[in-house]
């Protein structure tokens, strides 16, 4: 069960925190939006960190999910869970259709295309006023309820959001540790070699793009029901950049790194007043500094440092004959 050790630790943390601090603002409010960001970052990390496909428009899928839930529940009276499914269906379809033309591009071109997608969705949300409420936003979105259990308090939102985050982390870990996950990483390592190993790179790219979009849509629906009110500003270009920063800060190609990045960048603005005026600038600075000094990410960097220190402590012992970590892959 070594494979899921990190997930157990995270679960433990998520359960213990509210028991220790049941009425703490940071736990029941800030941690909820951190968990929401973690869902988004983990999904984006599959695309960006593992498959090496940059997206500067991830907020678009978040927005489509949120607005589908908002519109369908307020204007057509559908229940929130069906609305959530509808949002994912719509987002998944859009991602699927967009994937082919967009993912044929590489590097800067892919960055520009996803940026464009984000901007277009943003404009559509503002312009289709009859449907979305335009720049004034859309209110009166009903809360979620689970078998008669209304998710109406901060603590309940904490429970639901954390549970979904843990589920998404579990799904992501499973994907990475599978045939499809290896295909993603291979794509990043060498596209031509991946093809030569029998991987249909077009299908693989489309798959991961759709999965990332689906997780963003899920987060969007949760967000809409939690906030009860949404406006296009929550889904703009800066939010896409924020998500990219979370993935980069934590460390690309590390699921827990993405969770870490999401938590750090959600808590920092709450803790530091200076963030209020300079938020965008600070995010930009973090991105630059990470790229220059710690491209492997803070979480991954710290973890590797810790491992090296531990190994140094054990160093006097004779080196094992069997390569270390032999059992790692046999856990299932």
């Amino acid at each position: 069960m070594k494979r899921l050790r990190g997930l157990f630790l995270l679960t433990l943390l998520v359960v213990i925190l509210p028991l220790l601090f049941p009425d703490n603002y940071y736990v029941t409010v800030v941690a909820v939006s951190a968990a929401l960001h973690a869902i988004l970052a983990v999904g984006l990390n599959l695309l960006m960190g593992y498959a090496g496909l940059i997206s500067l428009g991830h907020a678009a899928f978040f927005g489509i999910g949120a607005y589908t839930s908002g519109i369908v529940t307020t204007r057509f009276g559908l229940d929130p869970w069906s609305a959530m499914a509808a949002g994912m269906l719509l987002t998944g379809t859009i991602a699927f259709v967009m994937a082919r033309p967009i993912l044929r591009l590489k590097g800067h071109y892919l960055a520009m295309a996803t940026l464009g997608l984000g901007i277009i969705v943003q404009i559509v949300l503002v312009q289709t006023e009859e449907l979305t409420g335009g720049p004034d936003g859309l209110g009166g979105i009903p809360p979620l309820s689970l078998f008669g259990w209304e998710v109406d308090s901060d603590l309940r939102w904490y429970m639901l959001m954390s549970a979904v985050m843990l589920l998404v982390v579990w799904l992501a870990l499973n994907i990475i540790d599978s045939r499809s996950g290896r295909a993603l990483r291979a794509l990043h390592g060498s596209e031509v070699a991946a093809e030569m190993m029998g991987i249909d790179t077009t299908v693989t790219k489309t798959g991961v793009f759709v999965v990332a979009a689906l997780s963003a849509s899920l987060a969007g629906s949760l967000f809409a029901h939690q906030q009860a009110f949404i406006s296009p500003d929550s889904f703009n270009f800066f939010f896409s950049i924020e998500l990219v920063t979370m993935v980069v800060l934590g460390g690309m190609a590390s699921t827990f790194g993405a969770v870490f990045g999401a938590f750090v960048l959600t808590f920092l603005p709450e803790l530091l007043v200076i963030f209020e005026d300079y938020e965008v600038m600070i995010f930009g600075a973090i991105l630059m500094l990470m790229m220059i000094f710690l491209p492997q990410g803070l979480f991954v960097g710290l973890r590797d440092l810790l491992r090296r220190l531990l190994q140094q402590q054990r160093a006097p012992a004779p080196a094992p004959v069997v390569p270390a970590g032999e059992d790692k892959h046999d856990a299932a």
């Binding site: 799904l171 499973n174 994907i175 540790d177 599978s178 045939r179 499809s180 996950g181 290896r182 295909a183 990483r185 291979a186 990043h188 390592g189 060498s190 031509v192 070699a193 991946a194 093809e195 030569m196 190993m197 029998g198 991987i199 249909d200 790179t201 798959g207 991961v208 999965v211 190609a253 390569p323 270390a324 970590g325 032999e326 790692k328 892959h329 046999d330 299932a332």
Partner: protein, 257 residues
């Protein structure tokens, strides 16, 4: 039996004709080498055989089937695998994972069953791991199993690329300069490995500049010059071919066969 049949193959890049009206047959179960000076078009030929480049003209039959127009992953599915002149390792993965990628076609679970980690997926993972370890031990790489690929020396990476290509389970293996950059010991190991691969029933198409190795390991040799066929035959025939000696090998070159 002929495994690979090439006829009238032509490919140019802008004004440069890399391959011109080339034809040859590769018999099954042999080591067939392609030699020629730098820029003769050997890698270009490999890229066409593996579906990476589209020929301008000509036909390629693999196991009797026309394969021009098939994408590389389709070629892999048909039983053609290859290594690359400039390493194309997955440096972001462990040695075992690199080779497990090679098992992609021998397993079949999709994204969604993987996400839910259904029982079939777990079973398949175990099977892929077994196949990968087998390929690794065949190439004498067991001791590197859990290392990251980017931490390995060049000679090991050359063999790792072969292990990964073998994991695909090919009938035909294209090797583009497997001995380039290797020292004498490693080159001798590579020679043995190539023969072992052939003895397993895998046909080998080899591009290599090390003439000693080529002469010792090959059943037949094709000599390319400016993308055209200069000569073809057994190592002995090639060594005594007047045109080859003049155009490429140079009069005074001697071989230890």
């Amino acid at each position: 039996m002929t495994l690979l049949e090439v006829q009238g193959l032509t490919k140019s890049f802008g004004g440069v004709t890399a391959i011109a009206d080339l034809g040859f047959d590769v018999p099954e179960g042999q080591v067939y080498s392609v030699i020629g000076p730098n820029g003769a078009g050997k890698t270009t030929l490999f890229n066409m055989l593996s579906g990476i480049y589209h020929p301008d003209e000509g036909s390629i039959h693999f196991q009797g089937r026309e394969i021009i127009g098939l994408q590389p992953h389709k070629m892999a599915a048909m039983g053609l695998s290859r290594t690359f002149q400039n390493l194309q390792m997955f440096f972001n993965m462990s040695v075992l994972d690199n080779v497990m990628v090679g098992c992609h076609l021998r397993t079949g679970s999709g994204l969604f069953s993987a996400a839910l980690r259904l029982p079939g997926v777990v079973r398949e993972e175990r099977e892929a791991r077994r196949l990968a370890r087998e390929a690794l031990s065949f190439c004498d790489l067991e001791r590197f199993v859990d290392q990251r690929a980017d931490a390995l020396p060049y000679g090991v990476l050359k063999r790792l690329e072969i292990a990964r290509a073998l994991a695909v389970g090919p009938k035909l293996l294209l090797m583009d300069e497997p001995a380039a950059g290797l020292n004498d010991t490693e080159t001798a190991e590579m020679q043995r490995l190539i023969r072992c691969i052939c003895e397993r029933g895998i046909t080998v198409l080899l591009v290599e500049h090390n003439m000693g190795l080529v002469m010792r390991v090959s059943d037949r040799i094709l000599v390319l010059d400016y993308g055209t066929r200069l000569a073809e035959g057994t190592p002995l025939e090639i060594q005594n071919d007047r045109r080859v000696i003049e155009a490429y090998l140079g009069g005074e070159v001697q071989y230890a066969v």
